[in-house]
């Protein structure tokens, strides 16, 4: 008897799960976008940067009246779940957003690993996803039709740093093939993909890789790696490990008085290195998808600098600069809004086709998708931290400042 009762209560509990019936993707005058985002776990710093970007764009679009589809104005609302920085959870949540919450348009999660886990799900259900934070090249070789990325792919992150090093070597009368390169990359899908790109570029110039380290997930001390750098004296040190990698590296490079003439990182801005380690970070090269000093602009946010200003006013804690993760997240929402208006319909496939035909200019740069879904209308730029400010030094077309080489030795 008792067990039977238990069985019933279990069944009842399961039934109650289904009571939350699927909502429509468009409720009244609101378009619902779904996103699994990392609010906890190892990617949470950038997960929050991303969420802030999404929210700001949605707010601005709504304040301006919303998105016009078929003569009617619609607001944008984004539903979030916390993916806990784990791909398995991300995939489950994508299923949940699509199957149970009835979401028919998705915004991407943070990081390549999460995007890799979610893309098969959105593809399975034919749900268009515009993602802003998954740069791994492997995302764009699978023939995904519903995946669109506003950012440049990972091999471009540090390519210009390698080119700069080679040019610099030539100008001082050295052969680039003599250059010694040290690599330290986090052992995660994104950083390893960047590493693969760097290896290819270094091989092109015939540079020698003298150190090739993988950094662990819980990186809190990279002293041994940096002692190795001291011993082997490379000409170029490249480090990539999301925000915590950049923060740990910046700190210890300063402390250990590492005197490498050129140091390149990813995620300097997301880690707020200029604010936290002003001395140590002087002269770092930082790969970035976007810079507020670029001359792009659009009708919504105005110029890139306007976006930065508005973002700083809206959210706390960004005084030292707005990370590009937020900018590209905002751009992703704009791309969706634009696609809805052009599709003039809420049909998934019409929206998908409109997305694929996107050709727009935003404060974040041009956005035009290749067949595979990656954005081909926007370059990566390279910052150098000069006098505690991020200044664009490469590629030449966008450079506002000249490269300072060698970087001044940090610390004392």
């Amino acid at each position: 008897m008792l067990l039977r009762k238990l069985g019933f209560s279990v069944a009842a509990a399961a039934l109650s799960m289904s009571v939350t019936t699927a909502q429509a993707k468009v409720e009244g005058d609101t378009i619902i976008l779904g996103s699994a985002i990392s609010l906890t776990g190892k990617y949470s710093t950038n997960g929050i940067h991303t969420q802030n970007g999404y929210e700001l764009a949605a707010k601005l679009i709504n304040d301006g009246g919303g998105v016009t589809v078929d003569g009617k104005k619609y607001k944008i609302k984004i539903e979030y779940y916390d993916d806990e920085s784990t791909p398995a959870r991300g995939a489950q949540l994508a299923e949940r957003l699509i199957q149970q919450d009835g979401v028919e348009y998705m915004l991407g999660p943070y990081s390549s690993g999460l995007t890799k886990a979610i893309a098969p799900v959105t593809e399975k259900y034919g749900v268009p996803m515009v993602e802003a934070e998954g740069a791994s090249r492997s995302l764009f070789t699978q023939g995904y039709r519903y995946l669109f990325a506003v950012l440049s792919t990972s091999e471009q992150y540090l390519a210009s740093a390698i080119d700069l090093a080679a040019e610099q070597a030539k100008s001082t009368g050295k052969d680039p093939a003599e250059l010694k390169v040290a690599l330290a990359f986090e052992n995660d899908p994104f950083s390893q993909d960047v590493r693969a790109g760097v290896m290819e570029d270094a091989a092109k110039h015939g540079m020698q890789i003298v150190i090739d380290e993988n950094l662990p997930r819980d990186l809190s001390d990279m002293t041994p790696t940096l002692i190795k750098v001291k011993a082997l004296k490379p000409d170029l040190l490249i480090i990539s490990g999301h925000s915590k990698g950049a923060a740990t590296a910046a700190r210890q490079i300063g402390e250990m008085a590492i005197e490498v003439p050129m140091i390149a990182l990813t995620h300097c801005d997301a880690a707020k290195v200029t604010e936290k380690f002003p001395e140590a970070s002087e002269g770092f090269l930082c790969a970035t998808q976007w810079s507020p000093t670029l001359t792009y602009s659009d009708d919504l946010f105005g110029s890139a600098a306007d976006f930065e200003k508005l973002f700083k006013e809206t959210y706390e804690g960004y005084d030292a600069g707005v990370p590009y993760q937020s900018a590209q997240a905002a751009a992703a929402v704009m791309v969706f809004a634009d696609a809805f208006e052009r599709a003039n319909s809420f049909d998934k496939d019409k929206v998908r086709d409109a997305l694929s035909a996107t050709d727009m200019m935003t404060f974040y740069g041009g956005i035009k998708f290749a067949e595979a879904g990656n954005n081909i209308a926007k370059p990566m730029v390279l910052w150098q931290i000069q006098d505690n400010q991020y200044q664009v030094v490469a590629p030449p077309k966008w450079a506002s400042h000249k490269l300072v080489w060698p970087r001044q030795a940090a610390g004392n």
Binding site: G7, A14, M17, S18, D82, E95, Q100, G143, N187
Partner: protein, 359 residues
Amino acid sequence: MIATNTNERLLQIAVLAFGLIAPFLFPAYIQQIALLWIMILFALTWDTMGGQMGYNSLGNIFFFGAGMYICAVVQIIVGGYDVGEYTAAFGAIKVDITDTQYFTGLFIGLAAAAVGCVFLSIILGFFFFGLRGPYFAIGTLGIALAAGELIGAWRWVGGGSGISLPLYPGSDIFPGSADEEGLFFYFLCMASAVATFLFFRWLYKTRFGLALNAIRDDEEKAEGMGIHTMRYKTVAWACSSFFLGISGGLHGNIVHFIEPLEVAFPTITFGIFMVAMSLLGGKGTLWGPILGAVLFHVIKEVTWTHLLGWQWVALGLIIIVNVVYFQQGIVGWLMERFPERFGIRVETDATAQGKGGAD
């Protein structure tokens, strides 16, 4: 031990019926219910060690991850790719395999995962079964943590970049086949969970089950009685890992993308969930872990996603409250409260005290 009576028969039939009908009744929840079956499997296999044998392993998740990787590697090999090349591309290869290759790869992979995990458990058992109490728990936790770190450094299986598994045939371009894949893996998950249940139900009724309980109650005395404890412990762990290996292989294919730290060896999520679920339902009982798994999973899925960041606080509190205040679990509590329902004869009220529970 629960005697087979009409109540239990009815419960079995009810669960089975629910399992068979659910995916058609609630098609939107297929994945969540599939995961529920995996959770039930987790709780049952953990309970063999923790509940019946008294060896509280915090590292059973190791076999889940090992199974996932073994299955993935076999699938790649059967698919006709070189594993090193496949993983070196970070999933940039557009996998091109036939349907037959996919299904043979999957089933050989699952079988290999099960057998491989049995081997691993025998080797690990040899090294770790001399540890008692908290040392065994810490040691097994260490195994799972070390496995995650070491696989992450192993380039041949993709290291930290992980492996993107071949997609279910036809599901990558044609969105229509969505349910087909869901159902396919749903029934595999259900079958493995049901098989786990039936197997352990049978096992606990044999002399073997009694020997496990003897080890739990007093290992020294069991040895004194001439029980070859080492053999029993090893076989019990091997049985657990057999099923855990299968569940790992399945889960990897459901997620499509595997990676050592977060997907394959999620020590502080799934690894602890399995313990929490068994404790919640009542460890050392047959239905307790199942009940715990169902409750835990339903609570988690219903409330989790709405807590946005607070879910970990909730999880921690559930574990604390469960362990500190409610250790005998639900079925343990019921057995104490209503012993006669479980076929336990009570002469007087006094003997009912301490009948349930597992310590």
